[in-house]
C-alpha cells in the first residue's frame, strides 16, 4: 500500500507530484491512500503571500511544468520520507480537459477527491477518450465536483456582504462568509481585482483573509461575532430590497433555487423576506381592487417636437 501525505487540503502541487510518480511506477489506484497532514498548530500562523502571480494563472495548463510563482507550495514528502525527484523527469500526457479539472476538484471538500482524480489519471493512460465520456461514473462525479466548487465560488462573489468600520483612521470593509469548499484562496483574486483600493477582510470558520491595499494576508479562522453591527449603509440596502420587489409576482421557487436558505443567515436582506411574502397577497389585492382616480395634478399634454430630419428621412 502507498500512503501519500499532502501538506494541506488544497495541496495541488503535492497531489500532482505524487500522482505523476505513482503513475510512472505503475501503482494502481486501489493501492494508494491519500491523506492530508493535520495542521501542526491549530492557531495557524499568519501567512503573508503575494497573490499577483497566482491570480493570473487560475487553472494553468502546465501539468508537466513546474508551478509558477506560488509562494506557499512545499513539495509533498514521498511515502518513504525522501524528497521527491524533480517533477519534470517524468512527463505524462494528459488531455487539457483533465488538467482543467484538477484545481477545482482539489478545492472540493470531499475526502475522496484525491483518489478519484488519481483513478481518472490512471484510467487516462489506457482510455484515451475517457474525458469525453460525461456519462462515465468517475467523470460524472468529477464534473459534479467541479460544478459544486464553481457554484460555491460564484455564490461567494455574490453573497459576501461588507460592513464598514473605521480602523486606525481608515475605512475597512469586513465580511463573514461560510464557503462549503476550500475556496478562500482561490476566490481572493476576484476581491482583489474588484476592491484593490479598499482595505477589506473576509473571515470564515476555517480561515480568513485580509487585503491591505497592497498584500493579501491569510488569517486563522474566525467567528461571525467579530463583525461590526449594522449601519446606515446597510439600512439603505434594505430599503432598496424592499422596494425593488414586485408583490404582484411571487416566484419563491425561482428565488430559492438561486439563493438557497443556507445563505440567508449571512444576508442582511434575507430577514425581510418573510414579511414581504406575507404582505404580497394583500398588497396585490389592494392594487387590483382600487378604483382608478383622476389625476390630482394638472396634466399638460406633451407635444413631441417634429421628428429630426435625419430620422424622418431614414438616412441611417
Amino acid at each position: 500500500m502507498h500512503n501519500v501525505y499532502l501538506q494541506d487540503e488544497t495541496d495541488i502541487e503535492g497531489w500532482r507530484a505524487a500522482a505523476r510518480r505513482l503513475v510512472s511506477q505503475g501503482v494502481a489506484p486501489q493501492d494508494v491512500d491519500w491523506y492530508v497532514r493535520p495542521a501542526a498548530d491549530e492557531a495557524v500562523q499568519e501567512d503573508f503571500l503575494a497573490m499577483a502571480n497566482d491570480a493570473a494563472n487560475p487553472a494553468g495548463d502546465q501539468f508537466c511544468v513546474a508551478a509558477q510563482g506560488k509562494a506557499n507550495i512545499v513539495p509533498s514528502a514521498m511515502p518513504d520520507g525522501q524528497q521527491q525527484p524533480s517533477g519534470d523527469s517524468v512527463r505524462l500526457m494528459v488531455p487539457r480537459q483533465f488538467v482543467e479539472l484538477v484545481r477545482p476538484v482539489i478545492l472540493h471538500r470531499a475526502p475522496e477527491r484525491f483518489g478519484l482524480l488519481y483513478r481518472a489519471l490512471w484510467r487516462l493512460q489506457r482510455e484515451r477518450g475517457l474525458m469525453r465520456l460525461a456519462g462515465d461514473p468517475d467523470i460524472a462525479r468529477l464534473n459534479a465536483m467541479v460544478k459544486a466548487v464553481r457554484r460555491d465560488m460564484h455564490k461567494m462573489t455574490a453573497f459576501v456582504r461588507f460592513r464598514e468600520a473605521m480602523v486606525e483612521g481608515r475605512p475597512r470593509y469586513l465580511a463573514w462568509f461560510e464557503p462549503e469548499h476550500h475556496i478562500m484562496a482561490a476566490i481572493a483574486p476576484f476581491f482583489i481585482g474588484r476592491f484593490a483600493a479598499m482595505d477589506w477582510t473576509i473571515m470564515s470558520p476555517r480561515m480568513g483573509m485580509h487585503w491591505d491595499g497592497d498584500m493579501l494576508h491569510f488569517l486563522p479562522g474566525g467567528k461571525p461575532e467579530a463583525l461590526p453591527a449594522e449601519d446606515a449603509g446597510e439600512a439603505l440596502w434594505l430599503s432598496y430590497y424592499r422596494h425593488i420587489f414586485n408583490p404582484a409576482r411571487l416566484k419563491l421557487k425561482a428565488m430559492q433555487k438561486e439563493m438557497p436558505k443556507k445563505y440567508w443567515h449571512n444576508l442582511p436582506e434575507a430577514e425581510l423576506i418573510t414579511a414581504l411574502i406575507a404582505d404580497a397577497g394583500t398588497r396585490t389585492q389592494a392594487m387590483l381592487e382600487r378604483a382608478p382616480e383622476p389625476p390630482r395634478r394638472k396634466v399638460v399634454g406633451y407635444r413631441r417636437k417634429p421628428r429630426r430630419p435625419d430620422i424622418a428621412s431614414g438616412n441611417e
Binding site: F195, S239, M259
Partner: protein, 411 residues
C-alpha cells in the same frame, strides 16, 4: 427629502423593467489601485427578491416625474404616485456605497422624461460620466436611452455604458400608439439601428489594426410588455425575431404586465400572466440557441403558446414523424430538437459518442430529464416503441408546475 425616501420611490418606479443583466461586457478590474470595480463577463446576481428576479444592478430612475402618459406605466404623468428626483451626485454616491459593500455589480439608470428628451438624456449620461471619469468606476453601467434624444447624446452614452437599451414596449405599432401616444415606434427602431451601427463599429478593428473607441461593449437590449394589449404570442415572437435579426439585440426581455399602484382606468388590472411570460422566454431561447424559427414554434389559428407544456415538447408532439431520434447518429441540429435535451448535454453526447455508443445510463449520469426524453429517443438499450404514437403521450408530458403556486407552506 431624504435619500432613503427618494430611493424607495425611485426603486418602486424602476421595478417594472425586467432587465437586470450584468453580463456580456469586456473584462476589467481595478488592480492598478485607481478607482474601483471589475466586470466578470458572466455577471453576478447579488441577491434575489421573492419575485424570483435577480438583483444585480442598482436599478433606479433618476426621476419618476414624466411628461409622457403611457397607459401601462406606473410613472405616467396622469398617475398619482409620489414623485421624487435624485440629484446626480446622490445617484453617484449611492452606487459607490452599494458597490463597496458588494451589494451590486453596478448601476442600471433610467429616467422619466423631464423638460425634454435631450435634457433628460444629458442628466442620465452625466451620472455615468462622473462615475467613470471622476471615480474611476469600473463596474457595470446600463443606461436606458431615450429614442428621441439627440444622436450625439446616444453616442456619449455608449462611451460610458456597458449596455444600452431602448424599450420597444409593445410588439406592434398600433398598440404603441394606443397605449403610449407620445412614443414613436419608428424613432425607437431608428435609434436601435443607429446603436447597432455604433456597437458593430466599436467591435471592428480598423484597417490599420487600431481598436476604435469602445461603444456599449455589452450591446443593446429591449423590453416588451406582455398582456397589456391583445397581441398574441405569434406576433410577439416574430417581433423578437426581427429585433434579434435586424438590430442584433443581445436580449429581448418579456415583462408580464403587472398590477401597479394607481392604475389607469383605460387599462384594467389583472394578475400578471407569469406562465405566459415563462413560455415566451422558453420560445425565445429556442430561437436563439436551438435553431428554431418563430413560425415553427407557434402553429395553428390561436397564435398562442401552450401554457401547460414547454414549447419544444409541444413542437415534438406535432412532429412525431421526426422521432425517435437516434442519439448516436443524429446530427447536432436534430439533437437540439429533442425535448429535454439542452445545449450542454447535446455537446456531451456529441463528444461521448465519438468514443463509444451512448446508453441510457450515460443520460442518467448527465442528469438529463429522462422521463421527458424517453418517448422521443432511441439508444442501443432503448426504443420508445408505441409510446411515441400513443394518444395519451400529450397528457403525460403536460407540465404540472404551471399550476398556481401554493404560498404559506414555504417558510
Amino acid at each position: 427629502m431624504q435619500v432613503k425616501q427618494k430611493l424607495e420611490i425611485l426603486a418602486d418606479a424602476a421595478k417594472y423593467d425586467a432587465s437586470c443583466a450584468s453580463s456580456g461586457t469586456e473584462r476589467r478590474d481595478s488592480r492598478d489601485g485607481k478607482g474601483i470595480g471589475s466586470t466578470t463577463g458572466t455577471g453576478i446576481c447579488h441577491s434575489y427578491a421573492p419575485d424570483g428576479r435577480c438583483i444585480s444592478l442598482l436599478k433606479i430612475l433618476l426621476t419618476n416625474f414624466c411628461l409622457y402618459d403611457c397607459v401601462y406605466c406606473v410613472n405616467r404623468v396622469s398617475s398619482n404616485v409620489p414623485r421624487a428626483r435624485f440629484s446626480i451626485d446622490e445617484v453617484v454616491q449611492l452606487t459607490l456605497a452599494f458597490y463597496r459593500r458588494n451589494y451590486i455589480e453596478g448601476l442600471f439608470l433610467s429616467s422619466g422624461i423631464i423638460q425634454n428628451p435631450d435634457y433628460t438624456m444629458e442628466q442620465v449620461v452625466e451620472v455615468a460620466r462622473i462615475l467613470r471619469e471622476e471615480h474611476g468606476f469600473r463596474g457595470y453601467i446600463h443606461l436606458k436611452t431615450i429614442p428621441d434624444a439627440a444622436p450625439e447624446l446616444l453616442a456619449r452614452a455608449g462611451r460610458y455604458a456597458d449596455r444600452l437599451s431602448i424599450n420597444i414596449e409593445l410588439p406592434t405599432a398600433a398598440s404603441l400608439s394606443a397605449l403610449a401616444p407620445e412614443k414613436d415606434g419608428a424613432a425607437i427602431r431608428m435609434s436601435m439601428a443607429r446603436l447597432r451601427e455604433r456597437i458593430d463599429a466599436g467591435k471592428d478593428k480598423t484597417a490599420s489594426g487600431k481598436r476604435p473607441p469602445k461603444f456599449s461593449p455589452g450591446g443593446q437590449s429591449t423590453q416588451m410588455i406582455v398582456g397589456a394589449d391583445a397581441t398574441d404570442d405569434r406576433t410577439i415572437l416574430s417581433a423578437s425575431a426581427e429585433l434579434y435579426g435586424r438590430y442584433r439585440l443581445r436580449r429581448v426581455y418579456y415583462s408580464a404586465f403587472s398590477p401597479i399602484p394607481d392604475a389607469s382606468p383605460a387599462l384594467p388590472l389583472q394578475s400578471p400572466p407569469l406562465a405566459r411570460e415563462h413560455r415566451l422566454y422558453q420560445a425565445d431561447w429556442l430561437m436563439r440557441f436551438y435553431g428554431f424559427e418563430s413560425h415553427e414554434i407557434i402553429t395553428g389559428e390561436q397564435g398562442m403558446l401552450a401554457l401547460d407544456m414547454d414549447p419544444k415538447t409541444a413542437w415534438a408532439l406535432r412532429n412525431r414523424a421526426m422521432f425517435p431520434v437516434d442519439l448516436n447518429r443524429a446530427p447536432k441540429s436534430t439533437l437540439l430538437r429533442v425535448p429535454g435535451l439542452g445545449v450542454r448535454n447535446v455537446q456531451r453526447i456529441l463528444a461521448a459518442r465519438r468514443v463509444r455508443a451512448v446508453r441510457l445510463d450515460d443520460l442518467v449520469r448527465m442528469h438529463a430529464p429522462i422521463n421527458r426524453m424517453l418517448p422521443f429517443i432511441q439508444l442501443p438499450d432503448h426504443h420508445p416503441g408505441a409510446t411515441l404514437d400513443a394518444a395519451s403521450l400529450s397528457a403525460r408530458l403536460k407540465d404540472t408546475r404551471t399550476a398556481p403556486q401554493q404560498l404559506g407552506l414555504f417558510m
